[in-house]
Assembly symmetry: none
Homo-oligomer: 156 residues x 2
DNA sequence: ATATTATTTGCATAAAATTACATTAATGGC
DNA sequence: GCCATTAATGTAATTTTATGCAAATAATAT
């Protein structure tokens, strides 16, 4: 069924276009576009899309799609740690070996752990090297792609 | 009344520290810290602080204070400039005297100008002091309130 | 001080959002 | 096709959040 898919696309567009402040609001817009669902479904859609509710800077709130530069704070700081320490990365089998500036392996490994990427099973840190164990059967290209999306600042 | 102020400070701290996912949650933390209010008050506090409700990237949501990077870009960078230079502020008549770290008065004054706050008529910068001329009849408390809302990071 | 005005809060309730449960639609074997 | 399994949705109940209004409290003026 592609009804849901179409609806999600419509929702994203509506949210980007208007300042939607309640699901009831959104419902109205959807109806105008020919989508007929209940508010309960919207609640589920919103969660599915990870839509945020953010202050308009005055007295109201509106829905907003998560964007890359709005990454949640904790994640942002982990990413910063990684960028700070990162030098290079190499691969062997289902492992990635990340080279860091001396003494940074630990903070980098900690940060990687805390990103809770499910492509990664675990990490081990030396002084300037972090060993990253990848999920079995994960293509290294796939991993690189994910990493690049997550931290585009890295020179992979 | 400083009860509210203290509570708001506590709320900010709690929200920064834990992943609070409902006002009931927050209420519990507040009680533990000796604040006794009702959920209705929290609802108002949240709005006052412009707290956002953000997806945790999985299936949940939690509260998050508006951060610098969620402000519109130009304003963001001006605000950063102010925060970078700011030391303290004092008042005399319809003037505010902002003390900055040496050499920063200029960039701070420039930033203040560019925020186009209509509470401010004009600024003058020395080396480590910015003179801010306030709109006539503007209460200093009102000004502080505005400033605090605009740049909560400042210790006014 | 006392009066006046504005702010803050609780209570009760309304509005908004989520969820348990049941039902229906889609999907993948066979 | 038919059956089994999973996903999607509606309905109704529940939970969470917001708000109108009155009482309490603080701030300001006289």
């Amino acid at each position: 069924m592609k009804e849901k898919e179409a609806r999600l696309r419509a929702i994203k567009k509506i949210i980007k276009t208007y300042k939607i402040k309640s699901q009831r609001d959104l419902l109205k817009h959807l109806r105008e576009n020919g989508f007929n669902v209940t508010q309960a479904t919207l609640s589920r859609d919103m969660r599915f899309l990870r839509v945020n509710k953010i202050s308009d800077g005055e007295n109201g709130y509106y829905y907003s799609l998560p964007s890359l530069d709005m990454r949640i704070d904790s994640e942002k700081s982990f990413i910063k740690d990684i960028i700070r320490g990162f030098i290079s990365i190499d691969y062997s089998g289902n492992m990635a070996i990340m080279h860091t500036i001396p003494g940074h392996a630990d903070s980098v490994a900690f940060a990687i752990d805390n990103l809770s990427l499910d492509e990664i099973i675990g990490t081990m840190a030396g002084d300037d090297t972090v060993l990253i164990i990848l999920k079995e059967n994960l293509e290294k290209e796939e991993f690189k792609k994910m990493l690049k999306e997550k931290i585009p600042e890295l020179e992979l």
